[in-house]
């Protein structure tokens, strides 16, 4: 029975929540990896996301000046390479000198990097919002017709299909990387016990580089997906994402990439569903406080179960 309740709930709350959750999940992978392997909270992660969405926009713009109309996902490929290079440069110049210092030094350094990257983007592209994709996203007509013949009408715009499929593909690749390749096994080993990993012949410095590559790629994907979803880019979008991504990483358990994915999905859904009028007419939590939801989940988690849902690491 496809009542108006389900129609509204699925189309206007559940699917946007799922999409947002995918974006958080991709971002949280990078955070949980750096937290697990390098043992610090990387505050600059959101800014790498933001930078890559600006780069994507720039590539699409440059291509269109040559008469090529690129889909943002195509533009994201060179942008993600740039994001990876950026992450590696930042690590080499600003994080590596602190490898053997107390972790808090590297946290302060990443805190500074957050501002440096953001102001760099603001210098290059200006502080104003830029339209990423023009126009209103119409629901995909094929899915709409197909599902309404079963008496359930799903209104999914193309951008959401791209984001959902893209996330699934990246997850599958990531799963393969982590469970079946040498580098992935090394990453898990370093995350579990860096000293033991080192004495068993794993080159930790290479693993760290691999971490930045994977984290940077996921951040780039998350940034582009976010820009596709909201259809605009601005220099504070990375900072806005930072808290939900940390919440997702902590919810899933630090150092547990798939925990971070689950955490991301939960946080994304919780944020969107909190605006649903569960009780009475008005939304349960005023939309203005939406970004507070992730934070409350994080604080509750930190108090009652700091190891996260999937028994991550507690520092």
């Amino acid at each position: 029975m496809w009542e108006s309740f389900w129609f509204e709930f699925i189309n206007f709350y559940f699917i946007p929540g799922l999409v947002l959750g995918c974006i958080y999940a991709l971002g949280a992978i990078g955070i949980t990896l750096t937290f697990g392997i390098l043992r610090f909270a990387n505050f600059a992660h959101g800014e790498i996301m933001m930078t890559s969405s600006y780069l994507t926009w720039e590539f699409v713009l440059v291509a269109s000046s040559f008469g090529l109309i690129l889909h943002p996902i195509i533009g994201a490929i060179p942008a993600s390479i740039c994001a990876i290079i950026l992450a590696l440069i930042v690590d080499r110049l600003f994080y590596k000198p602190f490898r053997n210092s107390p972790t808090i030094m590297i946290v302060i350094a990443s805190f500074g990097m957050m501002l440096i990257i953001r102001s760099m983007v603001q210098v290059i592209w200006g502080p104003n919002q830029i339209t990423f994709v023009k126009g209103i996203a119409k629901p995909n007509p094929i899915i709409k017709d197909f599902t309404s013949s079963f008496d359930i009408m799903l209104l999914i715009p193309n951008k959401h299909i791209f984001i959902l499929l893209g996330t699934i593909i990246i997850m599958l690749i990531f799963n393969y990387l982590l469970s079946s390749t040498k580098i992935g096994k090394g990453m898990r080993a370093v995350s579990d016990n860096p000293n033991l990993a080192e004495v068993s012949g794993i080159n930790v410095e290479n693993i760290v580089k691999a971490t930045w590559v994977v984290g940077g790629f996921c951040a780039a994907a998350a940034g582009v997906f976010l820009a596709m979803d909201t259809q605009f880019i601005e220099s504070t979008m990375g900072f806005r994402m930072l808290l939900p991504m940390f919440a997702a990483a902590i919810l899933g358990g630090i150092g547990r990439p798939f925990g971070a994915v689950a955490g991301g999905l939960i946080i994304g859904l919780a944020e969107e569903l909190s605006a649903y009028p569960w009780l009475g007419d008005g939304p349960v939590i005023s939309p203005g406080y939406k970004s507070g939801v992730a934070f409350s989940i994080m604080v509750i988690m930190l108090i009652f179960r700091p190891s996260g849902l999937f028994r991550g690491r507690v520092f």
Binding site: F94, V107, S119, V123, L243, I250, G288, Y289, S291, F315
Partner: protein, 360 residues
Amino acid sequence: MEIFLGYFLYAMSLLTVGGIYALLALGLNVQWGFAGLFNAGVAGFAAIGAYTYALLTTAKSQFHFGGLELPLIVGDIMAMIFAGIVATIIGLICIRLRADYLAIATIGIAEIIKLILKNETDITNGPRGINKIPRTWEHFTEERFYSNFPMNFISNPKGWEVFFDSIPKWWWQPFFACTILTIVIIIYFLLEKLRVSPWGRMMTAIRENENAAAAAGKNVTKRRIEAFILGAVIMGLAGAFLGQHLRLIEPTQTFDPSKMTFLVWVMLIAGGSGNNKGAILGAFLIWFVWSSSELVTNGFIEILATMFDSVDISILKNRAGFIRMLFIGLLLQLILQRFPKGILPEKRPAISGKSQKYAG
């Protein structure tokens, strides 16, 4: 003469804001320098102080809660108390977390405070903010002050009006700057006393080796919460003064984390964390660098404009602020890597004063 007056007033406003930042840096020094608590939500505590002060002392307004018209000093004290209360709640929840987690949690709290200030429009007037915040000294020229108790005792409103017309308009500026500097000095001496007191030494012990301090019977959690609250109280006071200085506060631009939290961190680390003198020095130094860099970049852009007539400099002008931010960020990285102890490194209480010869 005119130009000297201009320089004088510019110097006064530099000292005023420098003093406010010095208070923030001192507050952060208690949390980070003394106790090793990473507070990334300085802007949040300053916002609480500023808003508490503003709501309590402004004239009645239809746009926001009250305007309770309380005396200014009550506003200052309540700003400190309120910041302390919020810090207590946060401290009880988050203080046991490791430094990274505390940093994330405090960033989140600053954001939540901002959200509340933005969304509770009935109380705070939302994004439009609160204006006409009475400023210490300058408030005497407002009618509601000079026509009421202590002031109407000395002269009638008419007399005051004539008096204020007869003196230059900027008369309050040096007084305001001196008030803030005096408060900075008072708090500095109190904190110095605290630093060498048993409490201060205990804080150092806890920061350096938590387990050893706990084994020696110190209540680590309680001491940390105390330090967190004390720091927040000082930040609340700084916020109250910031509100007075700006006279118009609103949640997003005024309490932008990059300008508040981050700049204060740079100040403390540059000056030397753990050293109160360093915190003050760093605050004034970075603030002077920050404000003079505005002149330098603007001058540089002017030169560029005269050299290349065809180039449109309006874009550069818009973005000059970000170039400065970039520069300050790089400065932090440089200090962090080359001089992690800051200009004035921390002096441990054990080797200060008379016992210096024996302690080595």
